[in-house]
Amino acid sequence: MKPFRIIIGAALATSLALGATAAQPTWSAADLKTLHGLWIGELGPPPPDPSNRVADNAAAAALGGMLFSDKRLSANGQVSCASCHQPDRAFTDALPTGHGVGVGNRRTMPIAPAVYSPWQFWDGRADSLWSQALGPVENPVEHGFTRLEVARRLAAQYRDAYESLFGPLPDMTDHGRFPLRAAPVGAADARAAWAGMTADDQVSVNRVYANFGKAIAAFERTLKVRPGRFDDYLARVFAAPGPQARLSSDELAGLRLFIGKGQCATCHNGPLLSNNGFANTGVPARSDLPTDPGRAVGVRAALTDPFNCKGAYSDAPNRCDELEFVVVDSPAQVRAYKVPSLRGVAQRAPYMHAGQFSSLEQVVDHYSHAPAAPDGTSEIKPLDLTADERRQIVAFLRTLDERPAPSPKPR
């Protein structure tokens, strides 16, 4: 085995030396370590979610896929998960903030990278994919629906698929016990109807609602982050099999800035180009939206969410390390938002948690100037990037464009 390794090393050394003469860059050991960490080849399967026992169940994913695009799961019959998480737009929309039955306060997030994150939403107020899926359905400006209506929809349209996974649905024929429309959040009429139910009936509906989220999560876990030209370049650097590509001199300069002077890789690291953390980067507040404290409030919401990992509807309430050891009440959490994955970033403008910037150029300008935060303290310092450097970083970001999804194989 040893001579083989030496040959590989020597072959690569030669190719690098030749590459250097062809204006391809050479990278330091520290650079190579950083670059290797960014490579999609380092992305393993999604981490297990023991709180969802059907997380990797194919039948649950099939049910979840149908629920994901079912517009009947909304107050006006016009809104499904897929209305904002559009499959042909990397599961986002092209809007500053999401449009459901009303207009939301936050930018729609892509789904495939979220499968790897311990925290969901821009403020991390959900600690699993399945608990995340429950929020928008009852949000008055998103689906505007209620969990009783979801349970009834499952009973009417999806009974067999549901019951084969989760067991019998409750008998909801008595409208006195099970109102047509009821939820502990949202509109006053729905909350009043919920308050009139017995605790036992509330629990049985909550269980159905949690299972609904778990099926959607199982579907979401089948979505894949796809490689881009950047990964083909890294395949070339690391002499890996598969497609290989070169980057232009601007793209390479941008990559060097990304991992060096630009300090982008401080947070945007790992194969998803995100550390899955939260940061205050001084993103301006939108004057037309309510005050938004970000993670400082999100972490508290996650801790008190009845659908969190430790709650009654979790399938593993004793295996909740992220929730158990979560940081709370840190000043750094004020106006801190999720560090998003940069996979496919150029394909999904606008940017930031409320669509504050319409282009990547504006985003890079923001990081170069590093203005003070509207609240809390920004973690970033001015970089004073030149116009060329800003252009090069954007050129590099475009190499993260995701390859198109493979078309379904003909049967």
Binding site: W27, A29, A240, A265, G277, F325, V328
Partner: protein, 151 residues
């Protein structure tokens, strides 16, 4: 997703990486941050003022990335006698990136003399991390220690 993750390929890539690293270091200076030279990477050494000797070890090997895991701690006085019942406070972060730990880990005794477990540690990226322990023994002796980890 491409199937980049088979073991032989990983091994091949690792060795190619070594070769590339060796050559590239000679040719050019790097642009990513490298940890300072001469960092003390020992995980078994005296505390700052020499009050204690502390040995730490990850229960998972290699140290996992972006996953909550546990470490064991063995605490003795400088003569090597185990110290039980101490209060251990865990802190840390990445000095080069000016950020702390992404989680709030806690240390608890495990029952055998001088042994503790740190639960809830997570490292969210590769690079130089510090793990800091503030130690207070039941007899009032106190000291601190900072371990360096390069992941």
């Amino acid at each position: 997703m491409p199937s980049f993750s088979s073991a032989p390929r990983r091994s091949l890539v690792r060795h190619a990486l070594c070769g590339a690293a060796l050559l590239a270091t000679v040719v050019f200076a790097g642009s990513a941050m490298a940890e300072p030279k001469g960092l003390d990477l020992s995980l078994d050494r005296p505390s700052d003022q020499g009050v204690f000797r502390v040995r730490i070890r990850s229960q998972a090997a290699p140290i996992p990335m972006s996953r909550v895991h546990q470490w064991t701690v063995h605490l003795t006085d400088k003569a090597g006698l185990p110290i039980s019942g101490a209060d251990l406070t865990v802190d840390g972060g990445m000095p080069e990136h000016h950020h702390g730990l992404p989680t709030a880990p806690r240390a608890t005794p495990v029952g055998t003399p001088g042994d503790y477990v740190i639960s809830g540690l997570k490292f969210s990226m590769r690079g130089w991390w510090e793990m800091k322990l503030a130690i207070k023994a039941p007899d009032g002796r106190a000291d601190r220690i900072t371990f360096n980890l390069v992941l």
